[in-house]
Subunit: 254 residues, 2 copies
């Protein structure tokens, strides 16, 4: 029987510490191919490149791991891998380890989770791993046992159709356990920083800080992560607000 | 009482025919401010600009409608509008009219729906309007009565928290009616077109065609749109796959 084929990507770029450490954690669990952006793509969400072409180059092949660097977005990387570069359909897609968490509504902005959602779209099991540790030289070795455990379970058992996993680790060296969570809610505040350039013109940086609206709700990924747990949020493609149907029928169709 | 403040944006750029026609349809329903990209941003999804600053310039002010053009993404436009440009919190956010539909899973790639989801995140009622008509000079006048009807209902009654509307119009001059739908499923096929540049190097265009997996399921937006109905899909921020919790508890926590 063939070893599983595992595609790994990220949004911090192929050279980032997080993806390098993820490759090392799972390299014995299958045949690994890496197709990742050639630099940082934080906040790429599920964007794809439509106005210019995409280029890809083979960066290295060490210990049997092929690494391709792509000029496009995280979603472009998955499309390119599955459509052109991989010898066959992958058995699993992994994203990360992201330097920075993707809990709560931030999944919508996340290039890491875009990779996992792209996997779900293609009916390939997919997992995004993120850590609260932002530092470029973060040591993710404390994540190794549970990353391997989660990857092994998903490789063996699969995921329901249209569902991928969003795994967020606290900034800690040990964890209280794994919690299955719902996606937290909240919003960003102070999102624009207004500055003046040397010629007196106004410009803006998109920045800000996330404000959770979950309070002490222990069912959310935000709570779990901030309280020392590994938060796994099953994440689905289907955005239909089924619960709003009756209300909308009243206001729109009568 | 103040007239409602309506923010309008899109992903085809402030000069696109679709947004111009949308402005005209709703200009008597409130005070309108337009903050839109300075050019096309198709496939921008919920990306925001993190690596460079964002600039904005006032383009015109005619008949009381201020129009700002922004160098960033659709999400940047909403953040910039709500954080800096608008005199107060808007009562409604409209996106579109997009030249091209955003039915089914394509909501995930859509800059139009990113605007609406960004509104939902900020707890501001928001609606994305899209049409199957792709042409840059498409005539959307057949949409006017129902666009006005939907906008009026949402202005008066509001939307549930965390929910926005995805409205997709068929390529037609009259419609069989409005249907409340669920988001269709499917995937893109033949997503990469491989070419060779004049110097012999390979490059790729991200392209392809959408393949619906809904068959004849009449509950989906894909079906409604392809069968002459205006498809309204209530769309939520919450991506939690609640239905997968028991399965995942079995495979991950035992």
């Amino acid at each position: 029987m063939n070893r599983p084929l595992i595609l790994i990507s990220n949004d911090d770029g192929y050279a980032a510490g997080g993806i390098r450490q993820l490759i090392d954690m799972v390299r014995l669990m299958g045949d690994i191919v890496v197709v990742a952006p050639d630099g940082g793509r934080s906040g790429a969400a599920m964007s794809f490149t439509s106005s210019v072409p995409v280029n890809v180059r083979r960066v290295s092949e060490a210990d049997g791991v092929q690494v391709f660097a792509c000029t496009g977005t995280p979603c472009d990387c998955v499309k390119l891998a599955c459509g052109q570069l991989l010898p066959r359909r992958p058995d699993l897609i992994l994203a990360g380890i992201n330097h920075g968490d993707n809990a709560a509504i931030n999944v919508h902005y996340s290039g890491t989770m875009a990779i996992a959602l792209e996997g779900a779209m293609k009916q390939i099991p997919a997992i995004g791993f993120s850590s609260q540790k932002l530092s470029a030289d973060a040591d993710f070795s404390a994540l190794r046992p549970t990353v391997q455990q989660i990857v092994k379970s998903v490789l063996e058992k699969g995921l329901p159709r249209g569902v991928c996993l969003n795994v967020n680790y606290p900034d800690a060296e040990s964890f209280k356990g794994i919690r299955l969570c719902r996606m937290g809610v909240g919003d960003w505040v102070n999102e624009l920083e207004r500055r003046t350039d040397p010629r007196g013109r106004t410009y803006y940086w998109v920045t800000g800080s996330f404000k959770s609206d979950d309070g002490h709700d222990e069912s959310t990924d935000t709570w779990a992560m901030h309280n020392g747990y590994i938060a796994i949020t099953p994440t689905q493609l289907d955005l239909t607000a089924y619960g709003a149907m009756d209300y909308l029928k009243d206001i729109l169709l009568t």
